[in-house]
């Protein structure tokens, strides 16, 4: 299985290595650097690189490459999934997963990696168990540790690993018993130049933050579970209960976790909450182009569209832009030709717009690519699919927990307006 792990930063330095079997020389990473050089973009490095004796499987997260070295056949997704789990764990422990954070906590990182794999086979990947084994560093604890000389390593041995619910640690105690659920939905849509939707889909997740004492057994039911088309669960969810009654029944892990991610069936028409009016023209022969962009809300059920960010990759021929936003600020990077406009909140009375001119390379012919426009936004307190949580019940414990549910809609990774402009003479 996994032989070794190398962490490589964006400038190509190996800043951490860990071996679970015999030591593999770090020169094996040369193949990786070679592939990295060939790739034009950082994300274009192939995830699997064969070398004469090893295979390198890498993931890129937070501008750090996690390169796993394996020697024999193993499902590549197995390794990739594990590496992502490692990153998630780091993030869980240190808040961020940056080179600096890892370097600062190198001992904890090492201890974690030691626990997560045994001889290259995953051993403990549940964050609840790991936290019992190795306490996450907090400022308070660091201070206490330096004074008293106590350690981050849990004194008592983890019992969770032995229990029937391996994801929950035992003996949890809180004074305030709380359970929060965030329903976050993302829209992914491709819209053509005329404004008609090519594809649109909604993915959602329910992230939970459960801080309940003891061994609570929760059930969560929805008003409209039929909306959920394709779901994947945290292992704690009882599958057959869902199959039979469409109710989520589970003993939650302690702390933050992703309860469920779902896909809203495509039969339901997806209403896109914003629209874009655009007019981007280049004139043949002249070195000027016109740029006009207006945003507006659409079907948001009275909720405000916030944190709007518009970005567009302009054609290579564009030298600079001179634009005038009605609100927010814009930036243009003349090297990457990336235009981004931080709009903020959309006011339905006064629609934000961005107008101005682009200067093109003198003598260059009219660019024939059409820029695509990507929009990011957030809408609080609304799940665009209409999903509603009906109720949350708790069994198994006596106290009354505080329950909270939050809805949010945001643009997915890439909602985009693909423009397909007709050439003007």
């Amino acid at each position: 299985m996994i032989h070794s792990l190398f962490l490589v930063n964006s400038s190509g330095d190996i800043f951490l290595e860990k071996h679970w079997k015999s030591v593999v020389s770090r020169s094996v990473c040369d193949y990786f650097f070679e592939a990295q050089e060939r790739a034009s973009e950082p994300e274009n490095v192939p995830p699997v690189i064969p070398t004469p004796h090893h295979y390198l499987i890498s993931v890129l997260r937070h501008r750090i490459y996690f390169v796993a070295v394996i020697q024999s056949e193993v499902p590549p997704l197995f390794v990739i999934e594990f590496l992502h789990r490692v990153v998630d764990t780091f993030q869980d422990y240190f808040g961020v997963c940056t080179e600096a954070a890892i370097k600062d906590n190198v001992v904890v990182v090492y201890e974690l990696l030691e626990e997560m794999l045994d001889n290259g086979f995953p051993l403990a990947t549940e964050s609840n168990i790991l936290k019992e084994l190795i306490k996450p560093p907090t400022i308070l604890r660091t201070v206490v540790n330096t004074i008293t000389g106590s350690t981050n390593v849990g004194e008592q041995l983890p019992t969770g690993q032995l229990s029937v619910v391996p994801w929950r640690r035992t003996g949890v105690k809180y004074t305030n018993n709380e359970a929060y659920f965030d329903v976050v939905e993302e829209i992914d849509a491709i819209i053509d130049k005329s404004g008609s939707t090519i594809t649109a889909e909604i993915q959602g997740v329910i992230d939970a933050c459960v801080k309940l004492s003891g061994m609570p057994d929760l059930t969560l039911s929805f008003m409209n579970p039929r909306l959920l088309d394709d779901v994947s669960f945290h292992p704690c969810v009882r599958f057959k209960r869902w199959e039979a009654e469409r109710i989520l029944s589970f003993i939650p892990p302690d702390g933050n976790f992703r309860l469920l991610s779902y896909h809203v069936s495509s039969q339901n028409l997806v209403a896109i909450p914003v629209y874009v009016k655009h007019n981007i023209t280049f004139r043949e022969g002249s070195s000027q182009g016109r740029f006009e962009l207006t945003l507006g809300p659409k079907q948001t059920m009275g909720k405000a569209v916030e944190s709007v960010l518009v970005s567009s990759q302009l054609p290579r021929g564009v030298l600079n832009v001179n634009l005038n936003p009605s609100q927010g600020t814009y930036t243009f990077d003349p090297v990457t030709k990336l235009l981004s406009w931080d709009v903020g909140k959309i006011n339905p009375q006064k629609l934000p717009s961005l107008k101005g001119s682009m200067s093109l390379q003198a003598g260059a012919s009219k660019p024939d690519e059409n820029p695509t426009i990507n929009i990011q936004f957030k809408i609080q307190q609304m799940a665009i699919s209409g999903l509603k949580v009906n109720r949350l019940d708790m069994y198994g414990e006596k106290y009354k927990p505080f329950k909270g549910i939050k809805y949010m809609t945001k643009a997915g990774k890439v909602p985009e307006g693909r423009r397909d402009e007709a050439a003007l003479p």
Binding site: V59, L77, E114, G149, L157, K240
Partner: protein, 1088 residues
């Protein structure tokens, strides 16, 4: 600092050392100092020392020995976690001297009390194996032992060890196969991946190909499959055409892996997907598509791997992803490698219907700024054009338009693709060639230039004027061209010389001369070759007359194929598949066996192993209303099972909820059964069989034997009906077994070739009963080696009659139902004492033998084909809202009826039909039964559809009696009363009636009601309902509960019998129409 007395200083030192290690600096000089601290009390120091040891012990073997004694002490620690960690470090230290110690430690740990330590032992096995491969044999023994472990904790790790050490020892899996399948859902996710991959390989060696028939058909067209020995071949073909019956173990695997598609772990989902791809019948592979598409929203690395696999799958099973076409649309922010893969998938998915939208997408992609991607898109268009003839012209036109694109790369790529397309039909497109000839002045990309030249040369007859001119221009720039272009210039010159030597003779000479002094030897070589070939010389040149043939031969058009075409011989999801190269340690996916190996090897002989195996299956499969009914058995089983599985926890919690009432009714029904024993002795075992131990059961059974045989032959049915209720509760555990039993029964009975099934079964039963298990097995084994094919086939024949399709449900024929019932009953009785060989199939069989058969098609109207149907009363497996309709075809014709299937259903809105699988051949005189599901939407409207044979169509309709639109629900009396209280008023219909002659006894009432409607009786706290002499004065109450199929609304039926042969019937149902109709039906049934 390491020598200090203070732990904090030691810790600080260790932390620095670890930091050094992390940075890759060599810290091995400190080894002696560190090793001393291995016995340190501080846990963190200890852990860091372990980390250090594992890293450097290999380099400093002698010094590492100093630490061994500490670990040995640790191995004996009372705390399981310390034992485990000691073993872990001990086995991680790669020091060859301690191999014997490791071996001992592993052996000890493998039989440790704690499953966690056993898990660590499993982890240690591959470590030791990699250190010393000679330990293989003893390690295999340990693996074998650990494989038998029943805890989920160990399962994943030990399979991992198995894969690492002895993947070829498939025989070790046999005994544990079913256990692994059943545990699978509770194993931790990483273990799941490993187990699923291993089981895929296992299944490939043990089961028959579910798609064998189709494969045969496909291959039969291409080549004579059994060409060499024709007669045998034919025979085999005929045999194969027989409906394929999936091995129940095979089905078990598929069923138990399916819920894992919902896993959050991409690797698990992929593993299940590949399992389905490699093992499932074609029709079922589709279920994985949705989950795979879901993975496309994950991290880009995951996408990359999944798309690779989807690309391979989409070639073989196009239909699978068609509905998800849009999910493969490319987004501008995708990395290029993802874009190219998505393009690949889109191209594979293109069909006549979808091509237009795909092409429109492609058009947008061409305008992308990512040039590699644009090039890939153009190639994809080319492939679409070659694969789908209709759009070839459109594509070609589009590509020609691209020729005027400003981007040279785009143009070049289009030229190359156009060249390939033109090769297919050059005649019609001479203007395109002309156009391209003009382009040559502008295009600089060598590959494109070469392509144009080749085209002009190849089709110089279509462009007689332009070709020499192009050659002239090329001759001018010859020296500055790239090598491939030069070669093509030579080619062009030679071809022109042959066709049009008048104009081009001098030019050719010139070009050849230039080439003669070229730097590249290939070009010089080619020039020399061409000169000799085409320029007539004095020396004869025997070849020159063939020159024309050589150069101007018709060339076959190239076939544009997907690079993923032949990748599926690698196991999907594997590294080898991804790289298309065999990776080290890759285990080939074996081909399906021609005949299935003996399935009995998977039989588990140990009694309680079966119990544990059954337990999770049941827990997993149960529909909620059953869980309570089975809780009694559950509880008993739980005592036996050492450690409850996670999936049970739910039931457990439920159990506590209803514990009080449950125990009441439990004892109640048991006592009631006791009173009834006078009627039929069988019942005592129905309930007794669950609770009593094997030894107690045996004498009982002997005593019952005669009465049972009698009952079976006479088939009075009464006893069965009366026991129906209990059976229903007992069914949970016994039924699944009984079916498997009946299957085995069938095997035996057919081998004895007796005439009537029911008789033979009882006979064989009696015969085999005294046999011990061992004998039984021995007998089976004795048959198998003699004719390995035979038992299987016979079994198939029998199962044709008895278990038509394992997945659906058994025996719909009215007559055989009895025999089936009896066999299942017999099996019930024996259930526990026998080897529970097969797995429990998913259905409950009909409780009552009184299935009414209706006529669908009379044999006269059907021209010899008679079709009857009855309502099976089992839940339809594939859709809980559907009513199961069993259809029985009998062929009274002299010829075969072929291709029986359903067509053109004309349904009321909302109604749905799940058709039965097409019946390919029905030989004359034979009878076949199949099952379809119909969702009637809780109405008695008929479902109309056409029944087609290969020659005729018949319009038929199935109209359900209202009683069949519901399914029984198990509820307790107080629940019943509560529900009834909520369904008063409009929803309640009361009717008084006079009971018919035959309806005096309570059995009769129960039987009549349940025959009229598919409802379940509500057990009553008192035993009065069952006792044959009701206490005077007190009215007798029977309650029944059911729910409608589609809307799940409750249907509650109460019959209160009074002394004077009158009775009051009450029906409570939310749906008044159903209620009214039901009252009518029951009234009719009771007053007859």
């Amino acid at each position: 600092m390491l020598d200090s007395n203070k732990d904090s200083l030691k810790l600080e030192a260790m932390k620095r050392i670890v930091a050094m290690m992390a940075r890759g600096k060599n810290a091995s000089d400190l080894f002696p100092a560190v090793v001393k601290n291995v016995a340190c009390k501080n846990i963190e120091v200890k852990k860091l020392v372990y980390v250090y040891l594992v890293r450097y012990a290999e380099e400093q073997q002698d010094l590492a020995l100093l630490s061994i004694s500490t670990f040995q002490r640790g191995l004996k620690d009372p705390n399981q976690l310390i034992r485990a960690s000691a073993l872990r470090v001990l086995s991680s230290i790669r020091v060859t001297i301690i191999i014997p110690i490791m071996m001992l430690a592993i052996k000890d740990a493998a039989s440790d009390m704690s499953p966690y330590v056993r898990k660590t032992a499993a982890h240690a096995i591959p470590k030791l194996y990699s250190l010393d491969p000679e330990q293989k044999e003893p390690l295999i023994e340990v693996i074998e032992k650990l494989l038998a472990d029943k805890t989920t904790l160990v399962a994943g790790s030990v399979v991992m060890a198995f894969e690492g050490v002895c993947p070829e020892r498939i025989d070790l899996i046999h005994k544990n196969y079913r256990k692994l399948c059943n545990l699978l859902i509770d194993v931790e996710e990483w273990g799941q991946v490993v187990i699923i991959n291993m089981l895929t390989r296992y299944a490939r060696t043990q089961f028959l190909n579910p798609n064998a028939n189709e494969v045969l058909l496909e291959e039969g067209e291409e080549k004579e499959f059994y060409g060499s020995d024709e007669e045998e071949g034919k025979e085999e073909k005929v045999e194969k055409k027989k409906p394929y019956v999936m091995d129940p173990d095979h089905r078990l695997l598929l069923r138990n892996t399916k819920p894992l598609l919902q896993s959050r772990n991409a690797a698990v989902v992929m593993a299940v997907a590949q399992l389905y791809f490699h093992l499932a019948p074609k029709a079922e592979v589709g279920v994985t598509a949705k989950a795979l598409v879901r993975l496309l929203r994950s991290h880009s690395e995951v996408q990359f791997v999944v798309l690779q696999n989807v690309a391979t799958m989409s070639i073989k099973r196009k239909g699978m992803f068609e509905t998800y076409l849009k999910s493969f649309y490319i987004r501008s922010t995708d990395p290029t490698q993802i874009k190219v893969l998505k393009l690949e998938v889109l191209t594979n998915l293109a069909t006549e219907t979808s091509i237009s939208i795909i092409l429109r997408e492609f058009q947008t992609y061409i305008k992308s700024m990512d040039k590699d991607f644009v090039a890939a898109t153009i190639q994809a268009i080319g492939r679409c054009a070659t694969n789908i003839g209709e759009v070839r012209d459109t594509c070609l036109n589009g590509l020609v338009q691209l020729l005027s694109n400003r981007d040279e790369l785009v143009v070049a790529e289009s030229v190359v693709v156009i060249k390939k397309l033109l090769q297919m039909q050059p005649e019609q497109h001479s203007d395109i060639i002309k156009h391209m000839a003009k382009l040559i002045e502008n295009i600089q990309v060598p590959m494109a230039r070469a392509s144009i030249l080749w085209l002009i040369g190849e089709y110089c007859e279509h462009v007689p004027k332009i070709a020499p001119d192009v050659l002239r221009k090329m001759a001018k720039s010859f020296t500055s061209e790239e090598d491939i272009v030069k070669l093509q210039i030579l080619n062009l010159a030679a071809k022109l010389y042959l066709t049009n030597s008048k104009q081009t003779k001098l030019l050719t000479q010139y070009v050849l001369n230039l080439a003669k002094y070229d730097q590249n030897y290939d070009i010089r070589d080619r020039a020399r070759f061409i000169r000799q070939l085409i320029v007539p010389t004095d020396k004869g040149g025997a070849l020159s007359k063939y020159a024309k043939k050589l150069f101007l031969a018709l060339k076959p058009a190239p076939i544009l194929e997907s690079p993923f075409k032949d990748r599926d011989h690698f196991q999907l999801g594997s590294l080898s598949h991804l790289l298309n190269v065999k990776a080290g340690g890759y285990q080939e996916l074996p081909d399906w066996p021609e005949t299935a190996p003996d399935p009995s090897v998977r039989n588990v002989e140990v009694m309680d192993a079966v119990e544990t195996v059954l337990d999770p299956v049941l827990a997993f499969r149960q529909v909620p209303e059953w869980t309570k009914s089975s809780s009694r058995e559950k509880r008993k089983e739980k005592k036996k099972v050492e450690k409850p599985f996670y999936s049970d926890s739910e039931d457990e919690s439920r159990l506590t909820e209803s514990a009080d009432s449950d125990s009441n009714t439990g004892s109640g029904s048991e006592s009631s059964s006791a009173t009834e024993e006078s009627d039929s002795g069988s019942k005592s075992e129905d309930s007794g069989g669950e609770s009593e131990s094997e030894q107690q059961e045996k004498p009982n059974r002997k005593a019952d034997k005669s009465s049972r045989a009698q009952r079976v032959t006479q088939e009075t049915g009464d006893s069965e009906r009366s026991s129906g209720e209990e059976r229903r509760t007992a069914k949970k555990t016994t039924e699944p077994r009984s079916e498997s039993e009946s299957e085995e029964e069938g095997k035996e009975s057919s081998s004895e070739s007796s005439e009537s099934e029911s008789e033979s079964e009882t006979e064989s039963k009696e015969e085999s009963e005294p046999d011990t298990e061992a004998k039984r097995n021995a007998k089976k084994k004795a048959i198998t080696p003699r004719a390995p094919d035979k038992p299987r086939e016979e079994k198939q024949e029998v199962s044709l009659l008895d278990l038509d399709d394992f997945d659906l449900n058994p025996s719909p024929r009215v007559n055989p139902v009895n025999s089936f019932m009896s066999s299942s009953l017999v099996a019930d009785l024996e259930g526990l004492s026998l080897t529970h060989s097969a797995l429990p199939p998913p259905t409950i069989s009909p409780t009552f033998s009184s299935l009414k058969t209706y006529e669908l098609l009379h044999r006269l109207t059907g021209e010899g084909l008679a079709v009857g149907y009855c309502f099976g009363r089992q839940p339809f497996v594939r859709d809980p809202h559907m009513v199961t309709v069993q259809i029985q075809f009998t062929n009274h014709m002299d010829t075969e009826a072929r291709n029986l299937r359903v067509r053109e259903p004309r349904l009321q809105s909302g109604m749905r039909i799940k058709e039965f699988p097409e019946i390919e051949v029905l030989p004359p005189g034979e009878t076949v039964t199949t099952v379809m599901g119909i969702d009637f939407c809780d109405s008695t409207q008929a479902a109309n559809f056409q029944l087609c044979t290969h020659t005729r169509k018949f319009c038929v309709s199935i109209q359900p009696p209202v009683g069949e639109l519901m399914a029984p629900v198990f509820m307790l009396e107080n629940e019943f009363k509560k529900e009834q209280g909520q369904l008063m008023g409009m929803n309640e219909i009361k009717e008084t009636l006079v009971l018919g002659e035959a309806c005096q006894s309570d059995y009769a009432i129960v039987q009549r009601v349940t025959a009229a409607a598919n409802v379940g009786q509500v057990p009553c706290g008192s035993d009065q309902e069952y006792s044959s002499t009701p206490p005077p004065c007190s009215p007798l109450v029977s309650r029944f509960a059911g729910k409608t199929m589609t809307s799940n609304s409750l249907v509650l039926v109460t019959v209160i019998t009074k002394r004077d042969r009158t009775a009051q019937l009450t029906v409570n149902c939310e749906k008044m129409v159903i209620g009214t109709m039901l009252v009518k039906d029951i009234l009719h049934a009771l007053s007859q």
